[in-house]
Symmetry: C2
Subunit: 192 residues, 2 copies
DNA sequence: CGATTCTTTGAAAACAGTCAATCTGTGTGG
DNA sequence: CCACACAGATTGACTGTTTTCAAAGAATCG
């Protein structure tokens, strides 16, 4: 399982064997069954988490109890709650597994230590945060200016891989529309 | 004008006089008249920009030519287009001044050099990006699960200072609703 | 299989958008 | 200093998209 993480890192940076060993020594391996929680609302999140296998989603609940998916994370992507991690406040997020998954966890303290010891890892993770920020800006724009149909088309174009392994109602939740609307949108698209 | 920037930095980190001088030596001062562009769609953005005085907005245009405001930046906040900065792609954003403003620009190259020379500045800016990311996640959630009224109330609660200096139609644009809807929402709120 | 979960469909309702007209306030030029 | 122009805000009537609620099909899993 660590090999997957190592392979990911090596595609982004050049590290020595000692450095990999250093990283490996603080990795916590976690297997999740489908539907199992990685994080529940109210808990404080204390890790950096890397998805080696499977897929997880992070979502919030509104006052009416509706789920709103904020992010998916499949193989070779990061997950967690940066807000709770940084502020140590109880998380507003839930994260659970959409499929049986394997996750590597590194505690905040260990991760920070790694980052000072391995600058390349530090810039790697800063890069990820930058990308995440850019992605969210794009998503805000989509949420504000796209119709339901445009949102869906943009999603399957950008996330072709994800869109085939996710149930439709989760895509709907991610796009901020109801499953019924998504079903109708798809019907319209197929017509064309 | 640099004093404002210096004051901001000193509230977040402790730097030596030489370090401040180093920063000052690469600062480009830019004054903007109201409505003047800082960045226009299609240009490549190459700076880190800090607002000393005034207020700017960044927005995108959709196919119909409607403006959608992504961010405001008032005194002591950063602006720019991180996507264009990182990828060197032409920007999809426009940034212009809502009020007469004074901005400090630092070119990408100079900023990176500063960050390696002054680690505290590096972590300061990483902190900002983290916060920006958290803010956008919050905004995505709001866009997906709030009604127009809830969006507006959340906005004026979170941005009391901004809400009094912005024209209503810009707030509407930021919230992803029409000026007419915002006007009606306000009417409803006053009623209560 | 049987049970649960997911998707589809229909009809009605709600919310926000559009278009157009009017009102308000501000600033500029004569 | 007034008048006019202009940008912004409000209001009304109407439209359209999406939601809601309910029910029926389809698919998946133990």
């Amino acid at each position: 399982m660590f090999e997957i993480f190592q392979h990911y890192i090596s595609s982004k940076a050049t590290l020595s064997n000692e450095e990999y060993n250093l990283i490996k020594s603080v990795c916590i391996l976690k297997k999740l069954r489908k539907k199992q929680y990685l994080l529940q609302e109210g808990d404080v999140w204390k890790y950096n988490a890397f998805v080696c296998k499977g897929c997880v989603r992070s979502y919030r609940l509104d006052e009416k109890g509706n789920e709103h998916i904020l992010n998916f994370a499949q193989e070779n992507w990061w997950t967690g709650d940066r807000e709770s991690l940084l502020t140590a406040n109880p998380s507003k997020l839930n994260i659970d597994a959409i499929e049986d998954s394997e996750i590597i966890l590194i505690t905040k303290d260990n991760f920070e230590r790694l980052c000072t010891q391995i600058p390349a890892l530090n810039s790697l993770i800063n890069n990820i945060i930058n990308k995440s920020f850019i992605t969210s800006q794009e998503r805000i724009h989509a949420a504000m200016s796209y119709t339901a149909e445009e949102k869906y088309i943009a999603f399957i174009e950008k996330h072709a891989d994800l869109s085939v392994r996710l149930p439709q109602h989760m895509i709907a939740s991610y796009l901020g529309i109801t499953p019924e609307t998504l079903s109708r949108v798809r019907k319209e698209i197929i017509k064309k």
